[in-house]
């Protein structure tokens, strides 16, 4: 794995050759407000890719925008940027920064289409910046554009140049946008989640191109991402941010092999989903990253840290050098190697959640789909979204439905839930075709991708959870709601609050509680964890597994995340453009898929997955779901 990681060695750069960023601080308005980004310092080596990872509120995007001089109105930056061999530039000097933008610094945003003007042809857009800045003549700019497009993998640049942005696919647009970012030969290029909108195999291709480009042009690339696996594979150096500060920095290989900060260790473990044994609880960290207003005085990670001592509550750790050229912001960084098991042990725990059962009893069939097909009508033409899908889902078992975007996963969900009727074939739930009827609670319940959209914002969460309980008298309803909230790890006293008072992970629990209130035969998890932070995702996944073991509903897991499927599923169904590609028991699927497409899919995600540190099963058990915090060790 290590040999694969760095195919082309990064250039050796002397310390003086690096770009230096010092003490970046971003505040809202007044100088005494709590900072959103607090004292971030790091260096960049030309020709390398530095990955920046962090969850909600980590401040990665704000930091980069401060460097580019692109902060939103109302935010003030402090700190300095010094490009190699040049003087320091104060980040409060907006004009100075903007003079650099488009020349020495550049960026590519997450949504590539937002980088392009829909009314202009590609050729014009590529040349506009450099010609405007008088960095090149029109002919020179056109030549460079062709060169860059070729470097980004376009076999025929001249075919792309006369196109309009809406004629490009997502992957094409991302590559064009990157070429655009590279046109002025910047010394620093910021890529903000450049591949999150792309399909798995395109993602690897594109990142490979980025790396080659960085090497050959000497640009220092900053890659912002939430995907540790990608960062591990493609980035030479790694910066981990949490709650507005850097908690760890260093060469990627070194940091991944031996993290010096408990958060880094936890993040690594949470990301290594292929290492969890099927049915066993996945690695997670209790709680969630704190919003800026509620950051504690000492170390911001204290509420979630299993290694916290008294000193951590009071004194904020500064980023300092620890062994091996790395830096970490933790009072106990030196002890991390020894304590790694303990940190890991606190993170992964308990006995397996589910027993993998053998299918036998035909009465236990909950969902039966036979040669189902579904059509979509749009503007007069009809298009087949799903065809020839067949499977049986038994009580207490989980079927993962995986595939790229456009595979037909959501169509299948709509068929099973009863929102749409199959054009051909049969779909049955509990023996009958699913139909939505007023007054009848559906035996199929769904946990959606975006929890804040899944709840009515105008009513309390208690009311939402009680929706399927219409038939019960008031007191019984209230009691049941309290019971349900507890079973998903929420405080029943909060039943009267509106959704806006809760975090994403908490909202997802509410959605689960509502689904359970209906005593469903089938629970469909439609990308239920995709929108959550990595450290929180497993909380929900573990919760679903536990509830399923207790209540015995069948589960349909719709996801693009094969790691999740690996842990949660008994069977796997792979879809591609509406047609089933493979249907197999999970164990044999993950050992080696039967079809080539599935093999490619698995390779694209698993091969750059991280391998977690060795874990001992004898670690102490702490509740894995719910707001409980790991107890601080005494120190």
């Amino acid at each position: 794995m290590s040999a694969e990681q760095h195919d082309i060695a990064p250039p050796a750069v002397a310390a003086s050759g690096r770009h230096v960023v010092e003490n970046v601080t971003v505040r809202v308005g007044a100088a005494d407000a709590k900072p959103l980004v607090d004292g971030v310092s790091f260096t960049l080596a030309p020709g390398t890719i530095t990955g920046v990872v962090g969850e909600t509120g980590a401040g990665k995007t704000l930091t980069m925008r401060a460097l580019l001089g692109l902060l939103p109105a109302g935010l003030r930056a402090a700190g300095s940027l010094a490009l190699a061999g040049e003087g320091q530039l104060d980040l409060a000097d907006g004009d100075g920064l903007r003079a650099l933008l488009g020349r020495e610094t550049s960026c590519v945003l997450q949504n590539p289409h937002s980088m392009l003007d829909p009314l202009q042809r590609i050729a014009k857009q590529l040349r506009e910046g450099v010609v405007e800045r008088r960095l090149a003549t029109r002919a020179e700019a056109d030549a460079r554009a062709r060169e860059l497009l070729a470097a980004m993998g376009f076999a025929d640049p001249d075919a792309v140049l006369p196109l309009y942005p809406h004629q490009l696919s997502g992957g094409m647009a991302q590559r064009v946008a990157t070429a655009l970012g590279m046109m002025p030969r910047p010394r620093v290029l910021v890529l903000d989640e450049p591949t999150s909108a792309l399909d798995a195999h395109v993602r690897l291709e594109v990142l490979g191109l980025f790396r080659e480009l960085a090497r050959s042009s000497g640009t220092a690339v900053i890659l912002i991402s939430h995907d540790l696996g990608l960062v591990n594979r493609f980035c030479d150096e790694l910066i981990v941010m949490y709650a507005g500060t850097i908690v760890e920095r260093g060469e990627t290989a070194a940091v991944v092999a031996a993290p010096r900060h408990p958060y880094t260790a936890a993040l690594l473990d949470c990301s290594a989903t292929f290492d969890a044994a099927p049915g066993e609880p996945m690695a997670t960290v209790a709680g969630a990253p704190p919003p800026p207003a509620r950051r504690p005085d000492g170390c911001p990670y204290v509420p979630r840290c299993p290694l916290a001592i008294a000193r951590c509550h009071v004194e904020r750790p500064r980023l300092r050098d620890v062994a091996g050229g790395e830096q970490a912001a933790c009072h106990r960084a030196e002890e991390m190697e020894a304590e790694r098991e303990r940190v890991t042990g606190a993170v992964v725990l308990g006995a397996p959640l589910r027993t993998v059962s053998e299918p036998d009893d035909p009465d236990r069939v909950v969902v039966r789909v036979h040669e189902a097909a579904a059509d979509y009508r749009r503007q007069g033409t009809s298009f087949r979204a799903l065809e020839g899908v067949s499977f049986e889902l038994l009580r207490g078992r989980t079927l993962a439905v995986v595939g790229e975007s456009g595979a037909g996963k959501s169509t299948l969900v709509k068929l099973i839930a009863g929102f749409e009727q199959a054009s051909e074939g049969a779909v049955e739930v509990d023996g009958a075709p699913p139909r939505l009827r007023a007054g009848k609670v559906s035996p199929v319940q769904v946990v959606f991708q975006h929890p804040n959209e899944a709840l009515n914002p105008y009513v309390s969460v208690g009311r939402s959870v009680a929706a399927p309980l219409r038939g019960l008298p008031r007191e019984a309803r209230r009691a049941r709601v309290a019971e349900l909230l507890e079973s998903v790890g929420l405080d029943p006293a909060r039943a009267g609050a509106r959704p806006r008072a809760f975090s994403g992970g908490q909202l997802q629990r509410v959605v689960l509680a509502r689904a359970l209130a209906a005593s469903p035969s089938v629970l469909i998890c439609d990308e239920a964890t995709s929108a959550l932070d990595v450290s929180v995702q497993a909380q929900i996944a573990n919760l679903v597994m536990r509830l399923q073991a207790e209540q015995g509903f069948a589960c349909l897991l719709v996801t693009h995340d094969l790691g999740l499927a690996h842990v949660m599923a008994d069977d796997v169904l792979v879809l591609r453009t509406g047609r089933p590609v493979e249907l197999a028991p999970a164990r044999s699927f993950f050992a080696g898929p039967g079809t080539e497409y599935a093999r490619g899919l698995l390779a694209a995600t698993r091969d750059h997955q991280l391998r977690a540190a060795v874990r001992s099963d004898a670690a102490g058990t702490i509740a894995i779901d719910g707001p409980l915090v790991a107890e601080a060790a005494d120190g």
Partner: protein
């Protein structure tokens, strides 16, 4: 009157956004104007002479004359009294029209957006039709045929007025009905009506409030225009338009007969716009309007 769209900039926020601590200035000023007008309208009958009382002895008095602070018209009618009385009538008409229009418009918009299909297509054609035929033109033509009672005027004004509500509500419903919470409600056994009322209607609340505030001003203008050309409110009922029309005949000599009623009218319309804007700010709604 046609509203292009009403947007909620922070769509995920909408009713969820934290209320600002201070009321927007525009809202305060607008409400102040309305309150002042209301006081004038209420005190008018008590303190001021009968607006319809004609007295040729006190005809065409300029402003600041004794007993007639804003002067009188060519027939001796007191301008201030007339204004006070007109406020009452205009308010009655405007509020009635807007209420009816909002009720009808929201209901139609909800159904069109939710049910879609032929019903929706029909609605869109009606919207196009309403846009194509200048409402004022239609009013004038219709009023000449149907008559001029207050009730008729209210009905006539309401006919094109429900359309912006329907349009805006429909657009919002088209988006909101795809929300996961709507799907979840149906899975929990909600009827279509339940979904409309509990999930979709609250989402349109802010839009309707802002639109209604703005529309009050427009209705005032239309009603005045109708009265101005002689087919709207007419004596013994009082109206701004009628007085302005009266003043027009002797424009050079009695400018105050035109200026003051128009000024008060302009202030009332301004108040309506300010309140609409202010509420829009407060509720995070941004209105794109095609009518003044």
């Amino acid at each position: 009157m046609s509203v292009t769209s009403i947007r909620l900039p922070g769509r995920a926020r909408g009713a969820l956004s934290a209320r600002r601590r201070r009321w927007p200035t525009s809202l305060v000023v607008g409400v102040a104007i309305v309150v002042a007008a209301a006081v004038l309208a209420l005190l008018g009958p008590l303190l001021l002479p009968d607006p319809n009382h004609q007295d040729l002895l006190t005809a065409a008095l300029p402003p600041l004359s004794a007993g007639h602070p804003l002067g009188t018209d060519a027939l001796g009618r007191d301008v201030l009294a007339w204004i006070a009385s007109s406020i009452r009538i205009s308010a009655l008409v405007a509020v009635s029209v807007v209420t009816v229009a909002a009720l009808v418009g929201v209901a139609v918009g909800l159904l069109a957006g939710y049910v879609g299909g032929a019903f929706d297509a029909l609605l869109m054609r009606l919207v196009d039709l309403q846009l194509a035929i200048p409402p004022l033109l239609l009013f004038i033509c219709a009023a000449s045929v149907v008559g001029r009672s207050l009730l008729v005027i209210i009905v006539l004004l309401a006919i094109p007025s429900w359309v912006p509500y329907a349009r805006v509500v429909r657009t919002r419903v088209l988006v909101e009905r795809e929300r996961a919470s709507v799907a979840a409600a149906r899975l929990a056994g909600a009827s279509h009506l339940g979904v409309l009322v509990r999930e979709l209607l609250p989402a349109t609340r802010s839009l309707v409030i802002v639109l209604a505030s703005l529309q009050l001003g427009w209705i005032l203008l239309w009603e005045t225009a109708l009265s101005f050309v002689g087919i709207g409110v007419h004596p013994p009922s009082t109206s701004f338009g009628y007085m302005i029309a009266q003043g027009r005949d002797a424009l050079a000599q009695q400018w105050w007969v035109v200026a003051f009623p128009g000024l008060v009218l302009a202030l009332l319309v301004l108040a309506s716009n300010l309140i609409g804007d202010g509420l829009g700010e407060q509720l995070d709604v941004e209105v794109e309007v095609t009518d003044a």
